[in-house]
Symmetry: D3
Subunit: 244 residues, 6 copies
């Protein structure tokens, strides 16, 4: 029922978030021939670019650097990418930004949406992005909302994993097997050289989530030893015609 | 990944529970050619047979009546059925009953498990059955537990809907489309003539959950007007290789 | 202690919400000779008027249609109605709208308040309306807030039932018997012809909640077979001098 | 609808619990001419009689002392009292004790039930008593359960306040005005001389809950300055025909 | 590890909040020779000054009175105090107010932060102040946020106790012994003569929390009979090198 | 206040649990000169010894192997160890086992207690062990409970981290720096050769929790790059005289 053969839309607060948290899902989708579109609400220029600030870069330089890195990472994942340049730290949810996102939904017509979870005590931009992604999705469903394009259906929404999952009330209810997509995710991570310490961190996390993929799938499925995983939370109930 | 082509095991506290709450899922499974096995821990002879007691039947007569009805209903759903006759009101979780259930798991080797949710302020047997079903599943996974048959894998567990879902902290995360299986569920319900008022009640519920199937699937999937549904909660995270 | 003989204030995000979710409570109050005032923050012109948009109506036409329907429904329930015309999809919580609501509280002096619950993943206007209703109530209690009329007391607040209750964390803690008020609710529902499919849906829901009224009241109270109900959640603790 | 003119049943783990936590509700009920029956599952002889153990009393002496105190306190509240002498620390939930409680329900036919909340990290007997009280209530409702007396209706259940409410997930949803019953509660407390430090503690608590009674009732009700209160949690939804 | 010898920052919605809820913690800190800085976002001129309004004071007079009282109370606690005069009822979270708070963090460099909890159904300003305090803390940590002063570390955040703790989902996870600081807190409370009824209320609360300090510390620590306490909730996990 | 210089008691369901989850805390305690006592309720002979069963060992052989490994691991951590041999899969909470644990508490007089968390959907023995540890602690506090030794104080209880923390509702509220104790933990892990794959898994976890130690402590504390951590949850509120 949920075919998975439509477009994936990823709403990311900052330029790098989609790589660490959802790179496997994106690469797996594009490897299946599906379209993936990443929308970065900001470049993460103030809140997630400490090394560039320490290196004395200007705001414009930092935004350009982050944009280039994100474009390279998206390319490694086979995804398109757009930047709304709404500013970060804080990411302010204006009526205009919400409207821009509605236009994205109407234009992209996603079959599935990925974004941040709604709680993050360490970063207020992440929940702000999630609220925008959710509210814009609802508005895009209404024929009475003026924006070009067809009215949106009801694409499922998945929250990707935050940096400190337990502190964000992140209880995974979907474990995604990203084993075959993992090389592409690694390549994308290497496009973000300023956060080199994250490469290992998120590779280890993929291994850890892979162990859980195997444990929850059961030994009978014959998954390989080096299974890699990503964790997600559904926001809406799954619709299906088979319990499995 | 979760293929759905193995055996479905349904652990039911009383003889009728599996019909009202999971009849659609069972009929859909057997219609796909899969095996379904229902295990009734008791006949519901004391707690869910008020009309027979009012009619002056003896305990043994009531158990025989309930058994016959449940067998007919299982047959209408295309399922096998077993009775452990452990007594109800209260259903007492003995070490022996737990062991019997482990043997069932080892013998049936289910690919998916259905049972009651863990909370029910109106019926203590239902959570007791759920705890037994969950604990026996874990024991059956251990090679060190002595019981015939292969060690169990990690079949997903789904909780079916209780009579007053909100009071049981039942927040559906899976909406199952049972439209094509609904006639079989209706036939099974009619095998329980003492609870005639439930026929309409659970038909209405199927319509209501069907509305939610359509709403959460989105208008684009072209589901029929009279879509029918059943609601479930997962106990373990879903393992998948596609987000959809 | 809670006498129930004062005025009921219903804060509704859109023009139709109060009918489906609280029509029974409103009709019961006015049948007891109490005053009921409905405040619609918007007409639901964009988000809940799909059939009119499909029929090619203009925004102003739609607002007039929805207003007329809501007035007729309020009349059927014996209630007064006001429209703040703040716009929907999105309903934006401005300082001015909040102030308008404080003025309503000061003028109406409600003894009880009904509004939407605080969570709704399918509609962001509903929680926005609830937050406004709650915050305005607090402001109206403060002598230092400049607005005409007496300072407000502490009227209890009840959240009425959303369309998908479990997904909105809606756990009813009050089951209201609306049996005698149900004909008036039906008449009010028929004032909303564009949502004809909702007539049956909310009649079935009244039956379902009526079953729970009977079940939770106990068989001894002799409630009729066709008892009808509505479900509510309290936001503040009940104050009483009898436990019952 | 919930008339409050039937019998109140109080299920107390130990001999003193009902005084501190529910003395006001009991005294108010008997002052209205209603019957109140307290059932103490144990005397609290091991877990709540430290001063007697320190004074070198024997187990039998302690049980006799606690029984005498509890009888005097019940008398001061106008209530009947029974002792099941099931032992405490730990209070073990046997099949026999459960059956004894079902017999109590069938005999007393309570219109309302008071007991401990289900969580208490400081005392395992309290939740054990609550679980027994709840399960026995359900069993007593079943015509198929063999015990003398009429089948039980559906009396509402209220949890009274534990010693450290926040640590017990105790969020009061009912604030009971016990102002007129407070002198009787004080007299009952003075029947428990070994816990003299509790007299002030629970008098202060009554004042504190009285402040909340006034705050949640609103200034318009004209409650006296020295309003006293007790806090409760409902286990089942309230059934009513007036929202107030 | 958590040495406690840095500066304490207290973010208070109104002029009096810090006294009732955190006066003990503040006095204890300054008694240890640490610096404490209180920031009042408003004077509480509209929402918490009922007696002055009743006495016919003007807005400016009330603000001056509240300021004077708060300065006296801060002085009694040995703390510095600042007023941002952002207005109350409602306290509106503007971009400018947020920026002002970031500047405070950068300037004060707190080692620990105290503020209101995030939930309060009786007062919307309190959660608004908490959200501002939390978001400003995060912004102050970012080198890319333009404001004078060093980048902030990761000071722990504690929520102090609201007036009706259970209704605010306030489950204390830190019980602070304020016995030696209690006289200073009493002196500070007496600086707020318009809320005289609160003196006893918060003295009783200190006794009650002191009982819990003793109960949770255990009898072996030899705490005095009249131990006084304040309750807090941590927002971030405790970092330590000893479990105790 | 919480001095940390008493004895640590670790209640472990199976022979290996204490190593993976609490090895760092134990080694840190003994390195400070404190006593640590581990009590294994079972050897994990059925549920956590798959490789030995596959190797054809008998039950008695497996128990001996597990005992030897656990003794070696305890020795590496500087801890004493006891085995109650109560059987696993299932670990049955008998009255006798509970009493044995009370005797342990009275004898050991722990200043701090470590055990499993109360929820684990993958292993029913873990919550069973936690419930036993908690209930025995309460019983040991009562002077009326007959067992040799002094009455117990109120040692704080910490839950150590389960294998799939998010699925066990494990939200760490204490992050323990185990950097200096980590070599001893590694040595203890190497005493469990049958679970070699766990060595890396729990070393990676220590790194991950170490990252969180640093992030939550803040950059100013100068923690080393390779900080290692363990995560815990408190069951009772922390008692302290400094907020830090």
């Amino acid at each position: 029922m949920a075919s998975g053969n439509g477009t994936m839309l990823v709403v990311s607060a900052h330029a790098g978030d989609f790589v660490w948290r959802a790179g496997g899902a994106i690469a797996a989708a594009t490897a299946r021939g599906e379209r993936a579109v990443v929308v970065c609400l900001s470049y993460g220029e103030r809140g997630e670019s400490a090394s560039q600030w320490l290196a004395g870069k200007s705001l414009d330089e930092i935004k350009a650097i982050r944009r280039g890195e994100a474009e390279a990472a998206a390319s490694a994942l086979g995804a398109e990418i757009e930047f709304l340049d709404a500013g970060d730290y804080p990411l302010v949810a204006t009526r205009e930004l919400l409207d821009q996102l509605v236009h994205v939904y109407r234009r992209v017509q996603p079959a599935v949406v990925l974004t941040h979870p709604l709680v993050d005590p360490y970063n207020a931009d992440h929940p702000a992005a999630a609220r925008l992604a959710l509210e814009a999705r609802i508005l895009a469903q209404a024929i009475g909302y003026e924006a070009p394009g067809e009215v949106l259906g009801a694409p499922p929404v998945f929250f990707f994993e935050p940096h400190q999952p337990e502190q964000c009330d992140f209880k995974p209810d979907v474990l995604l097997d990203i084993t075959s997509a993992f090389p592409a995710k690694q390549e994308a991570m290497r496009c973000l050289p300023a956060q080199k310490h994250m490469w290992d961190y998120y590779s280890d996390l993929a291994t850890r989530r892979g162990v859980q993929v195997k444990r929850n799938a059961g030994p009978n499925l014959g998954l390989p030893v080096d299974t890699k995983g990503e964790a997600y939370m559904r926001y809406y109930p799954q619709v299906t015609d088979v319990l499995a």
